[in-house]
């Protein structure tokens, strides 16, 4: 397919135009703003989608997209990358537990925001961590994503049972104080996570590209989300985070992400450098 498309420059140019039109069409029709997404990655995902939906060109994709709202919902699953694990990068959660949680303890009530929560693995990880540290009952976690499908899955909190083994291992390595099995019930090849965890979680649709701040929070975890954004959108998201964080609040990002080149870099200071946990700085 790649070879076909990039056979000559005309094709490349057509592709480029179609790409821009499609992204614009999505924005105008469904108000999902992918205009600030990293182009290379989004194009790859669109190619996969074309294959999957058996479209020969982006225009064809666009045509279906505009005429079938249902189609957009399934396309959205290709445009976003709903992949996540519990206690992914155990060292990150260990750093949260050992270095951030002691500071969080000094707040009478806590709010946290998992931005781009995908199918919720990370939200439940955070909730379990907080329960283990005795903070969950005074915490509220906002879990937001743009993909309603992912959000539904996240809200259900049901995962394939064959993933649980890896989750358990990561949980232990993150310094888990209890057994992960305390928090789920396995049946029919699935594991359902404890509903009481969910009581402290608000799942909601929120776009870092178009929406604004909704609450003041002490901790934001937004991992492997910024990688899909271009620099401007990254800056916008970080600006939102800065506004949402309380004074000296914490921000955790993915292991391959960095604030260094952002215009917002000066608003955050390293807190746990190697795990990419930052602390909001007072405005100069």
């Amino acid at each position: 397919m790649d070879a076909e498309i990039e056979q000559n420059t005309t094709d490349a140019k057509r592709w480029e135009i179609e790409y821009r039109l499609l992204v614009d069409a999505i924005y105008q029709m469904y108000h999902y703003d992918f205009r600030g997404y990293a182009v290379a990655s989004l194009k790859r995902r669109l190619r996969t989608a074309m294959l999957r939906f058996d479209c020969r060109s982006l225009s064809q994709l666009q045509d279906r997209l505009l005429s079938e709202p249902q189609f957009f919902a399934s396309l959205l699953n290709f445009l976003t990358v709903p992949v996540s694990e519990m206690f992914r990068d155990p060292a990150y959660f260990r750093a949260l537990r050992e270095q951030v949680v002691p500071v969080l303890r000094t707040y009478p009530s806590l709010k946290m925001w998992v931005a781009g929560c995908s199918t919720g693995e990370e939200v439940y990880s955070l909730a379990i961590l907080l329960r283990e540290e005795g903070l969950l009952e005074r915490s509220l976690i906002y879990a937001t994503d743009i993909n309603p499908d992912s959000l539904r899955k996240a809200e259900a909190g049901i995962y394939e049972i064959d993933r649980i083994a890896a989750f358990t291992d990561s949980h232990q390595r993150s310094g888990g104080r209890s057994s992960l099995s305390d928090y789920y019930v396995a049946a029919y090849g699935r594991a359902v996570f404890d509903k009481s965890l969910r009581r402290r979680i608000v799942f909601s649709d929120h776009s870092l590209a178009t929406d604004s701040v909704f609450a003041e929070v002490q901790l934001i975890s937004c991992r492997n989300v910024l990688i899909y954004f271009n620099r401007e959108l990254q800056d916008r998201a970080l600006q939102l985070f800065r506004e949402a964080l309380c004074r000296k609040g914490f921000l955790g990002i993915g292991s391959k992400e960095s604030l260094r080149f952002s215009t917002q870099a000066n608003n955050f200071g390293d807190f746990v450098r190697e795990e990419r946990i930052y602390q909001k700085r007072d405005a100069a």
Partner: protein, 1140 residues
């Protein structure tokens, strides 16, 4: 010194060393020569002395010899022994004198020989004398004489004389010789001294010259070194090229004393780009230069500095400043190169002359600048590469993630594929069936469609028929009623005549019947009239005859009409024209009378006890006729119905009170035709108020129904507008104060007080206490004065002609310029809590005693003199208290630590604190109680409170604390640092640190607003920050804000509010994203309940897209506003939706 001696090598340069050596030699030589001369002089003097002595002694020997001869001769002549006396003494002296001479001539051989001779001769002489004397004594005088005559004596004597002369001459000659020698020696010595001094002078001069040269050289070196160091300092650290260029060029220009400068950077391929300048005139040319082009290019190519002097003025760009411009006289250009490659170049222009040192410095710094430029370039490049790497890492990560998704997807697909295959087969069958079904349905649909269009046509026809029928009806009614009235008229007259029974021939029964016919006929007539009127109006067939009507008369007419009726019914009827009402109205008097009559008659009819009043008032837009009664009232659900034809609030009423029920319909329609409207307010059981609003002048185009319909809007706005600003009282005349002669640094008190007398008292008191005093009489003047004069303190009245003093206080405290100024409040009414919360230092209720005023000023004074900041620590545990005190100890911070709430209150009363740290568990009462008491007590000014507690807090507790406390910290391992951090923050917080939207919000929340006054607004929101913002926005406007943190709480709060009318919630602000029950669900739940169907709800959402907003409306919101909240928009939304 130790250092230099430790270093090897000569202590001084060779030339200086040689000079010093020469000086030493010269001094030693001079000393030797003058010593020698001295010695020689002494020897010569000794010799002279000896010579002189010898001469004297020789003379003495001669004279002694003469004495001896004299004595001898005398004796010889006389023989008298007495004459022998000189001889004895003379001969005796000679020996000793000769010995003396011998001593003196020890060194002179020649003289010694002469002396020996002399001695011999003298000895001979003495011998001769002795012999003669002996002869004489022996009496042999002649022999003696003979002896004498032999002349031996004389010869001897002459010989002696000759010898003495000879000796003396020799001595004299020697003496002269010696003297000469001595003089020569002295002269030589003097000469040598002069020469030596000369040599020394030359050497000193040489040394001075050397030292001076050395000093100059060192000066230059120091200047160069300082230049290097200075530049080094400026280019330290990671600087971007632009910053670096600016630093380099501005430093160098200042250091060199240049008036203009520019720096160029090698931009690859032999091109140089200017990247910074110093005092460059705008639009300077030569942004970019090629190597070899222009002098700068040449200097770079040659890698050599260029110095240009005596430049023609038209060659260069002028150096310009705000007040003038001039051409530089000299230009220095130097390349900045390293390892032979130029990295850049600098160029400077000078008004004055340079002396070469500038060029030297530039050459010296060339490498340094080049290194800095190169490393900055490298760093920039590195940064870019790093960023690129970061981007690639992200890209890689995203690819990885996608891959994972694709994998998962593939797995799922293969699974799904198998399933779907099985499904496909069964679906195939189903499809065929469905197809067949569809075919059928299509046919059916086709059929239905046809039927539908037929029905539609029918409907259109019917509508036309109806319209026609309506018109016929109106016409028929108009005609009919006329036809009816004619016979009815005669019936009535006849019935009346019959009833009067003038002839007296009817029985009582018959008279009664006649009356009944008359009454029934009258009723029928009224009904027919009404029907006629209504149909006329509906058919658009009435003509209006506008004329000027005296309102008083119109009212009077009604009064006359209804007074008796009312009295008959046992109720009171009063009519009044309110003062300030217009005298006349231009309208149709008949119709006005008709409407008023209708309204009044209804009111009288439906009122069983109490009273009916007719009141007239007017404003700029309209005239209002209010008819109020204390009758049965009309339930809200019936408000619309009663205006409809043939409808009354209650069907039974008709029968009870009579009347056609058409009156209100007619009145309403007439009012519309007259360009006005009728509104109703009523509470069942308490009475009703009908208001007829008519324009001052009947509009010509009153037929246009839309004009009437548009009126209500106008009215609503007019009410708001006319009520919004507080009625302005005229400000009193300005009283004399110190504003004309304010001294710059004197203490000044601003008095904002509209009561001139009281302001005067305050002014005198302030002056008495050595303040200058400025008096203003209104809030706006006061605010202006406060920002312009920056007084030391402010005395503020609450009741001001334009705004409330509390608003002034709020504004003062929100303006960074004035927020530090202590404010003391005086007022007739008690606003103390609000005032103190807003940050007033103190509060005094009028009337105020003099003592209280003095006290207030004192309070301001202590606040003024507080240079140090004060923190109050309230903690029951002593160790904790000490550790907090320890933790917070810092410069200029005074910490007061107390262990109980009571003591805290005492402390707060006695002074003002900048911040308070408190525990919740206290021995006397709880922290909550302390906070409440603080807020209640008017003599306590409340500082920002940080709650520092070991106690876990429930959500309710936290909510409660948030009202008073800015920050809550739970005691834990990491809490001390947070406490320190927060305290520091509060001590140094300035308002500008607040986010801009919050500042704006605070600014907006200024004066009270009628639309909000006393209204209850339910804020359903879980974010503390927003709750705070909304509360502080709405409460100052006079609204009461109730908080619910999620949908459940909101429903609970609403349920509670419906129970009591006073708690009724007027409007809901609903956040969408909330725990437990979100805003959508909550709104849907609210709309399910009938009594809340009309409750205005404004949704607050962080989502900005159109369909998100539509979702809000679909869930039941009346309107929405996107976060972050635009304050003005929110306020206007609330105004629009707030029920009137």
């Amino acid at each position: 010194m130790a250092q230099s001696s430790a270093r090897s090598g000569p202590p001084l340069p060779a030339s200086v060393l040689a000079g010093f050596a020469a000086a030493i030699v010269a001094v030693v030589l001079m000393a030797a020569v003058s010593y020698q001369g001295q010695q020689r002089g002494i020897a010569a003097a000794d010799a002279v002395t000896q010579g002189v002595e010898r001469i004297v002694q020789v003379q003495n020997v001669l004279s002694s010899t003469k004495d001896a001869e004299t004595g001898q001769r005398g004796f010889l002549l006389t023989g008298d022994e007495a004459y022998l006396e000189p001889y004895v003494s003379g001969s005796a002296a000679i020996a000793s004198e000769l010995a003396k001479i011998r001593g003196l001539t020890a060194s002179n051989l020649e003289q010694r020989q002469r002396l020996d001779q002399l001695q011999v001769v003298i000895a001979a002489k003495l011998a001769e004398q002795r012999s003669t004397i002996a002869l004489k004594r022996a009496g042999k005088s002649a022999e003696a004489l003979a002896e004498v005559r032999t002349d031996r004596g004389k010869v001897l004597m002459d010989r002696i004389r000759a010898l003495v002369d000879e000796m003396q001459n020799v001595d004299r000659a020697q003496l002269a010789q010696r003297q000469l020698e001595w003089q020569q020696t002295a002269a030589l010595s003097t000469r040598i001294t002069w020469i030596g001094a000369g040599v020394l002078l030359v050497l000193i001069a040489a040394a001075a010259a050397l030292v001076s040269r050395d000093y100059r050289a060192r000066q230059l070196q120091t200047w160069l070194r300082l230049g290097q160091m200075g530049l080094g300092e400026r280019i330290q650290g990671d600087q971007t090229l632009e910053v670096l260029g600016n630093n380099v060029v501005s430093f160098l220009a200042q250091y060199l004393g240049a008036q203009v400068g520019a720096i160029y950077i090698a931009d690859g391929a032999d091109r140089f780009r200017r990247f910074a300048g110093y005092a460059l005139p705008p639009n300077s040319p030569n942004e970019s230069i090629r190597g070899g082009d222009t002098l700068l290019g040449q200097a770079v190519r040659d890698n050599r500095a260029v110095r240009l002097v005596d430049i023609p003025p038209d060659y260069v760009l002028p150096i310009a400043s705000a007040i003038g411009r001039g051409a530089p006289r000299e230009i220095l250009i130097a390349p900045a190169s390293i390892d032979g490659t130029a990295q850049g170049a600098v160029e400077f222009g000078f008004f004055g002359r340079t002396d070469g040192s500038q060029q030297q410095l530039l050459e010296l710094l060339s490498t340094m600048v080049a290194v800095a430029v190169r490393s900055s370039k490298d760093r920039t490049r590195l940064e870019e590469l790093l960023e690129e790497t970061q981007r690639q890492a992200e890209e890689l990560q995203s690819q990885q993630e996608e891959l994972r998704v694709n994998n998962e997807e593939l797995d799922e697909q293969s699974r799904a594929l198998k399933e779907s295959q099985a499904q496909m087969e069964s679906q195939q069958v189903e499809l065929e069936q469905t197809n067949a079904q569809l075919e059928e349905q299509t046919q059916m649909l086709e059929h239905q469609k046809e039927t539908l269009s037929k029905q539609q046509e029918l409907l259109v026809e019917r509508a036309a028929d109806l319209e026609r029928a309506n018109l016929y009806k109106s016409q028929f009614l108009a005609n009919m009623s006329h036809e009816l009235r004619t016979p009815l008229n005669s019936t009535l007259i006849l019935a009346k005549i019959l009833g009067d029974n003038k002839d007296g021939n009817l029985t009582e029964q018959q008279v009664k019947f006649a009356h009944t016919i008359s009454t029934a006929g009258n009723d029928l007539l009224a009904l027919i009239n009404d029907v006629l009127d209504l149909s006329k109006i509906e058919a658009g067939k009435i003509d209006l005859k506008p004329e000027a009507v005296r309102i008083a008369k119109a009212i009077d007419d009604q009064s006359k009409l209804f007074q008796p009726q009312a009295e008959k019914r046992g109720i009171k009827f009063s009519a009044a024209v309110l003062p300030g009402t217009a005298d006349t109205i231009v309208t149709d008097p008949q119709r006005l009378g008709q409407i008023l009559k209708n309204l009044c008659s209804n009111a009288v009819k439906f009122t069983e006890r109490g009273e009916v009043t007719l009141k007239v008032s007017s404003d700029a837009n309209a005239i209002y006729f209010n008819v109020s009664d204390t009758g049965v009232g009309i339930p809200e659900s019936q408000h619309r119905n009663i205006f409809e034809a043939f409808q009354q609030a209650d069907g039974s009423i008709h029968r009870k009170f009579g009347g056609t029920g058409l009156g209100l319909s007619i009145s309403r329609d007439l009012a519309h035709r007259l360009g006005g409207q009728i509104t109703l307010q009523s509470i069942p059981g308490q009475g009703s108020v009908f208001t007829l609003r008519l324009p001052h002048v009947l509009p010509v185009e009153s037929e246009d129904p839309t004009a009437a319909a548009a009126q209500p809007e106008v009215k609503r706005n007019a009410v708001i507008e006319s009520a919004a600003p507080k009625p302005r009282r005229p400000a009193p005349a300005q009283i004399e104060d110190d504003r004309a002669h304010l001294q710059p640094h004197a203490r000044c008190i601003l008095v904002i007080e509209d009561d001139a007398a009281f302001a005067g008292i305050l002014r005198d008191l302030a002056r008495e206490m050595n303040y200058q005093c400025v008096v203003t009489h209104s809030a706006s003047d006061g605010l202006l004065a406060a920002t312009e004069l920056r007084p030391s303190a402010i005395l503020l009245d609450v009741n001001l002609p334009d705004y409330s003093g509390l608003g002034v206080l709020g504004q003062l405290k929100r303006n960074p310029i004035t927020r530090h100024i202590p404010v003391h409040i005086t007022s007739v009414a008690d606003h103390s809590q609000g005032a103190l919360e807003l940050g007033a230092v103190g509060y005094a209720l009028k009337p105020v005693s003099r003592e209280q005023l003095v006290d207030a000023l004192r309070r301001l004074e202590t606040k003024l003199s507080q240079g140090v900041r004060r923190v109050l620590v309230v903690e029951d545990d002593e160790r904790q208290r000490d550790s907090i005190r320890e933790l917070l100890t810092m410069a200029d911070l005074h910490i007061t630590a107390v262990e109980s709430g009571g003591k805290a209150l005492v402390a707060l009363r006695s002074m003002t604190f900048d911040c308070m740290v408190m525990d919740l568990t206290l021995p006397d009462f709880s922290g909550f109680e302390l906070l409440e008491r603080m807020a209640e007590q008017e003599d306590v000014s409340v500082p920002p409170v940080i709650v520092y507690t070991g106690r876990a807090l429930s959500a309710d507790d936290e909510q409660k604390l948030r009202r008073f406390s800015k920050s809550i910290i739970l005691k834990d391992a990491r809490s001390p640092e947070r406490l320190l951090d927060e305290v520091t923050l509060f001590l140094h917080q300035v308002e500008s640190a607040l986010p801009a939207d919050r500042q704006r919000m605070l600014k907006m929340a200024r004066d009270q607003d009628v639309a909000f006054e006393g209204r209850r607004i339910l804020v359903v929101e879980d974010d503390v920050r927003n709750i705070f913002a909304l509360t502080s926005l709405l409460e100052p406007k006079g609204a009461q804000v109730q908080i619910a943190r999620n949908g459940h709480e909101a429903l609970g709060a609403l349920a509670k509010s419906t129970a009591r009318d006073a708690d009724r919630i007027d409007l809901v602000l609903m956040d969408v994203m909330m725990p437990e029950m979100d805003g959508f669900t909550a709104m849907r739940e609210i709309r399910k309940r009938a009594e809340w169907k009309r409750l205005p709800i404004i949704a607050l959402t962080a989502k900005a897209m159109q369909d998100d907003l539509e979702a809000c409306m679909a869930a039941g919101a009346n309107d929405y506003i996107a976060k972050p909240l635009d304050v003005e928009k929110l306020l206007s939304l609330i105004r629009v939706w707030m029920p009137k």
